[in-house]
Amino acid sequence: MKRWEREGVVELEDLDIPSEEYLRKGVAITECLQEIPCNPCVEACPVDAISMETINDTPKIDYEKCIGCGNCVDACPGLAMFLVKVTGDSALITLPYEFLPVPEKEERVKALNREGKEICDAVVKRIRRGRTTLVTIEVPAEYALEARNIKVVR
């Protein structure tokens, strides 16, 4: 049994991690691992980079085609899409955020891992407001594949 089946925590080995080259370009990473009847990410992608054979499949991302626009992050009902772009020593992570307060641009927040534990400081670089707000944070590159939520500390 996988850890996510028992505890709800995805491990890196469960994921299709893009190569360094694609991470530098900035692409979407899917953490949707279960066959559920759902496909808004496929519909939302403007460049047809996300594919599914049937609606019950898990999404496959073509990193060559992916332009890192974030539409799938906004569309995914399971909040299981993230954008990751590694630039030198730091990484930009775009994640869905449905809580209050919404942080300000350049605000220092805490980055949380998949268990909700604080792992490092992060700086908010971009906010795309909506009912699901997309927050782009900057973290040290080593946390690119770990930081998946934020905590606003005021």
């Binding site: 505890e7 709800g8 995805v10 009847p37 009902p77 909040l79 449905e98």
Partner: protein
């Protein structure tokens, strides 16, 4: 206890009004239920058990469990969870006495329609929208707002574009409500209290707020009465502060009232997982989600987003007891072994002021059972079920079922079943153009929904239901 700010919801609170609880003047807002107003004022004990005088609070929040009965303006046994609070209303403890006020004469309204739909949730409203271009339709719902369980779902729905994937439940409820109310008559606060076979289908319904009795003659009836939340057996399970998960969703997401400060959730199916996330969104702490099975039952994406907020999920755990004097003050949880027995010495004390049970649902079958439609116990479907065919028609001609009443499933399925029942009911009154084509599309979508890993149980349930239906009916009326 009121939520002032929410990331997804905006609460439309009506005019400020005052009511009396056991002689004490309290503030409320027009448009909220008595139960919500009492909670907002910090009152969670609504009544006492008759024999041992144990304190009781509400459980289901949708008028199904009778745990919230109180005396309102002299009338005993009023379901406070679905009755709107009014200016100057007198709310008291139930004392088991008969009404002391004068009983008002009720007005009787006779109605004749092609299709009566009982229940205005995802299935009922979808059936109404589908059928009303071809037939006269009335929808009857005993809640103050239509939309069933959709009105408290803040998460975006899964599925395909056709079934409004990516749209939040509350938004789907609004769209359905707007469309249905343009096309047909919706009677709210109105409980159907009986079905009679008078050579035609006949329903008696009562508007509890306005004292109106409806006598409805219908050519077809679609029952979409939904389901009720299951109780779990453990010590102290009747304490105020122990709610059905849906009851808390109603309180929190419809009326903007918090159930407490810190909650424990029992059950890691989708309902329990979604509720944990919604509580966090409302600013309420969740100590843990516990689950008796070795695996999380709900979608992994829901579990993952709850975990990212720091809520732990303990599988192979159950609740042993809840304690507190007037309401929940804590709980003891315990680990389970392979044979579902308590693991000795694994008891843990959990500090919490409310507990939500998300341990499955049982179809609300009692009303449709009055029609004489064949009812059978089917475990996979959640309990007693009215047998039905692929068009959702029961063994009694002209009586249909749809949604959770017809098998516990997702809201997307309820909407599709509603459309199928509505379309077939209309078509059997007068032929509908392109009937075959429309029906085929709905059935194809339904089939796709039941294909994934989560579709296995509902699919098996439906197969059993149809098999028994055909055994009962022979090859006669399967279409």
């Amino acid at each position: 206890m009121r939520i002032e700010e929410h990331p997804v919801l905006e609460f439309e609170r009506g005019k400020e009004i005052y009511f009396y609880y056991n002689g004490k003047k309290m503030k409320a807002y027009e448009g909220e239920t008595i139960a919500a107003a009492l909670h907002a004022n910090g009152i969670t004990k609504f009544s006492e058990s008759t024999k041992f005088h144990r304190p009781r609070g509400f459980f289901c929040g949708i008028g199904k469990c009778s745990s919230c009965l109180m005396k309102v303006d002299g009338v005993p046994n009023v379901r406070t969870c679905i009755t709107l609070v009014k200016e100057g209303m007198v709310v008291e403890d139930n004392d088991g006495e008969l009404p002391d006020g004068e009983v008002q004469e009720a007005k009787t309204v006779e109605m004749e329609v092609d299709i009566a739909i009982v229940g205005g949730g995802a299935a009922g409203l979808s059936a109404a929208i589908e059928a009303s271009p071809y037939a006269s339709v009335v929808v009857i719902d005993e809640n103050p707002r239509p939309g069933g369980q959709l009105i408290k779902q803040t998460h975006k729905f899964f599925g395909s574009k056709e079934e409004r994937a990516g749209t939040r439940g509350i938004e789907i409820a609004r769209l359905l409500r707007e469309e249905a109310s343009k096309k047909c008559n919706i009677l709210l606060n109105t409980s159907v209290i009986g079905y009679y076979d008078r050579g035609h289908h006949f329903l008696v319904a009562v508007n509890r707020m306005e004292n109106v009795v409806y006598e409805i003659k219908a050519r077809k009836i679609i029952f979409a009465t939904g389901a009720q939340e299951n109780m779990l057996v453990f010590e102290g399970n009747d304490l105020p502060g122990i709610y059905g998960a849906g009851g808390v969703q109603t309180l929190m997401n419809v009326y903007g009232v918090k159930p407490g400060k810190k909650g424990l959730i029992v059950g890691a199916g989708n309902v329990g997982l979604i509720l944990a996330y919604q509580l966090k969104q409302a600013g309420v702490d969740v100590v843990a989600i516990i689950e008796a099975m070795p695996k999380i039952g709900g979608y992994m994406v829901h579990a993952a987003k709850v975990r990212r907020c720091g809520v732990p999920i303990y599988t192979k755990h159950s609740i042993k007891r809840a304690y507190g004097s007037e309401r929940v003050e804590g709980a003891t949880i315990v680990e389970l072994d392979e044979n579902w027995n308590y693991v000795e010495g694994s008891e843990q004390d959990v500090e919490c002021d409310f507990i939500c049970l998300a341990v499955g649902l049982t179809p609300s079958v009692r009303l449709v059972a009055q029609t004489g439609a064949e009812i059978t116990y089917i475990n996979e479907a959640g309990g007693w079920i009215a047998l039905h065919n692929e068009y959702m028609e029961t063994t009694k001609e002209g009586i249909y079922v749809a949604g959770d009443l017809a098998n516990i499933e997702e809201a997307s399925v309820a909407m599709l079943e509603g459309k199928i029942a509505g379309l077939h009911a209309a078509h059997s009154i007068a032929p509908v153009e392109n009937f075959d084509e429309k029906m085929r599309a709905y059935m194809e979508n339904l089939k796709i929904f039941r294909e994934g890993v989560f579709g296995a149980r509902p699919k098996m349930a439906k197969e059993k239901i149809r098999e028994r239906y055909h055994e009962k009916m022979g090859k006669g009326r399967s279409g």
